[in-house]
């Protein structure tokens, strides 16, 4: 029997601590849509997505109403387009991105991911065309997200791709300069990308997945912070236990929503992603969880240890609450999407270097960070290489989503709007890595890749 305290606790989490389900993401395989004629390909993609995801938004909204828990986003992730379009006569994939955009708008989702290529070891012709199309695709569509996998623990790092992605990020920024380089907020560069990530901008539906799956990303940094307020001054043993218990409860809600969505839509349940995802709203910040542990301002010494504990405890608590855990699963630290991180950059406690250290112990990487518009392509590539090296050596996913804002410099504010948030521009090292990036080739797979 449920007690009155149980019911009030759940509703307090939802109303006061901003517990929500961050996203229901439908992964759709487009492998059956291939065609030689580009127009036919685009039509098939549009038709297939609008058929599969027709009821996604309405079902999500019905679940939201019935259970009384907000489901913030409904999204679609598709097979990497570099594979789907490879056999077509298209030399540029912008028309495919536009078909994705139209389909996503027709079904009413707020983002569609999968304008992607996986080039950890090398490029195919399809990969080349896709990557070259990214700047224009992101500038001429509204809700298409793009990602490129440039390295993995098994394959090493494709430094040609790293060098090219620096240029692509700059081009995307230039083409969307009138929107403070918003295009870059929809582009993620991965090491060890995962095939079942429900979160944007890096979601795509991997080729090892089935036809159509439902995955759910939970949230709830506000709930964790509230729970930690009750153990102020207590030892880390108690802090870890408190986070685990809270993560369990949060994940149970995600599991329920995923099961319901999967049943009602008659699609297979994929995974629950245990990530603690913040929003710019007050009371929904991962940085504030770290500060609740005793760090004065996020980024101060001790932050990495606090984040390591948080990330691990969230996984341990969430794991038992769900039948299938996957995706990125950890604490996210997207700067512009987290009120505490934004404030920490503004007061000068959080630097790019500290963020890089933090990415060693959490998911996912240098995320939603605005840098000066005059940052060179080679410097962006070097940042990508550093981050990829952390992922490759530590056998984890790392990503870079940097926004070099044209015409703006350190300290100025950038506003992306909505969940993408806002943030002050952060300083990058003024010392050049141009010669390093120019070398090209591959950084070999590390010794730890030889596990057989």
């Amino acid at each position: 029997m449920l007690s009155i305290d149980n019911i009030l606790e759940t509703n307090r989490m939802i109303h006061d601590n901003k517990l929500d389900v961050r996203t229901i993401t439908m992964g759709i395989s487009l492998l059956g849509c291939t065609a030689v004629d580009g127009k036919t390909l685009c039509n098939r993609i549009y038709d297939h997505i609008t058929k599969e995801a027709e009821h996604l938004v309405a079902t999500g909204e019905a679940i939201e109403r019935e259970f009384g828990v907000p489901i913030i986003n409904k999204r679609v992730a598709v097979t990497p387009i570099s594979l789907v379009a490879a056999g077509s006569d298209l030399t540029n994939y912008v028309s495919v991105a536009k078909a994705l955009d139209r389909a996503a708008k027709t079904v009413g989702v707020n983002f569609i991911g999968g304008f992607s290529a996986l080039v950890s070891k090398g490029y195919t012709e399809g990969d080349r065309r896709l990557i070259a199309s990214i700047p224009e695709a992101l500038a001429t569509t509204d809700i298409v997200c793009s990602s490129v996998g440039i390295g993995s623990t098994k394959a090493g790092i494709n430094m040609d791709a790293v060098a090219q992605m620096g240029e692509i990020v700059k081009e995307t920024a230039a083409l969307t300069a009138h929107q403070d380089a918003l295009g870059c907020a929809k582009l993620v560069i991965f090491c060890n990308p995962v095939e079942d990530n429900p979160f944007m901008a890096g979601a795509f539906h991997g080729v090892t997945e089935g036809d159509t799956t439902i995955s759910v990303g939970v949230s709830g940094p506000g709930v964790v912070k509230h729970a930690l307020e009750a153990v102020r001054g207590k030892s880390f043993d108690e802090v870890a236990e408190t986070i685990k218990r809270t993560a369990f409860k949060i994940t149970r809600v995600g599991q329920l929503v995923a099961q319901e969505a999967s049943r009602r839509l008659n699609k297979k349940f994929g995974i629950i992603d245990l990530s603690l995802a913040p929003t710019p709203a007050v009371g929904d910040s991962v940085a504030h969880v770290l500060e609740e542990m005793g760090i004065t301002s996020c980024g101060a010494h001790g932050t990495t240890a606090a984040l390591a504990l948080l990330n691990d405890a969230v996984k341990k608590g969430g794991l038992m609450a769900s039948s299938h855990v996957g995706g990125l699963s950890g604490a996210f630290i997207p700067v512009s999407e987290d009120r505490g991180m934004i404030d920490a950059v503004a007061v000068g406690s959080l630097s790019l270097d500290k963020l890089e250290a933090m990415t060693c112990v959490c998911s996912v990487g240098l995320d939603m960070i605005a840098v000066p518009g005059d940052t060179s392509a080679a410097t962006i590539s070097a940042i990508i290489a550093d981050e990829a090296a952390i992922g490759m050596i530590n056998n984890k996913t790392t990503a870079v989503r940097l926004v070099p804002v044209p015409g703006k410099t350190v300290g100025e504010m950038v506003e992306f709007g909505g969940l993408l948030g806002y943030c002050p521009i952060i300083e990058v090292s003024p010392f050049s890595a141009e010669e390093f990036i120019k070398r090209g080739g591959r950084i070999p797979a590390p010794i730890r890749s030889l596990t057989n």
Partner: protein, 89 residues
């Protein structure tokens, strides 16, 4: 279908009667009623049951309307969210 109805607000005459009337009209059976004062606010929880074919959305809508005229917040939720969160097995 098990439903949990939560009423939060300033106490006044007739809350239970009017909420119960809406539930009865929609063929929702009240299994138990609990109430407490938390942070100076009146909190009431009703555990209810209704046939699966009945529309929860309609009950929610009517209760929300009644809550507005009573000056309290009334929420009706599928009980599974609480069971999932607080019960293992």
């Amino acid at each position: 279908m098990k439903i949990v109805v939560t009423v939060v607000g300033v106490d006044r005459v007739g809350i239970i009667a009017r909420v119960a009337a809406v539930l009865a009209k929609n063929e929702v059976n009240i299994v138990s009623i609990n109430q407490t004062i938390l942070d100076g606010m009146f909190n009431m929880i009703m555990m209810c049951e209704t046939d699966d074919k009945n529309s929860l959305a309609l009950v929610q809508q009517e209760l929300a309307g009644e809550g507005e005229s009573l000056g309290v917040q009334i929420q009706a939720q599928h009980a599974d969210i609480f069971v999932s969160m607080h019960r293992v097995g």
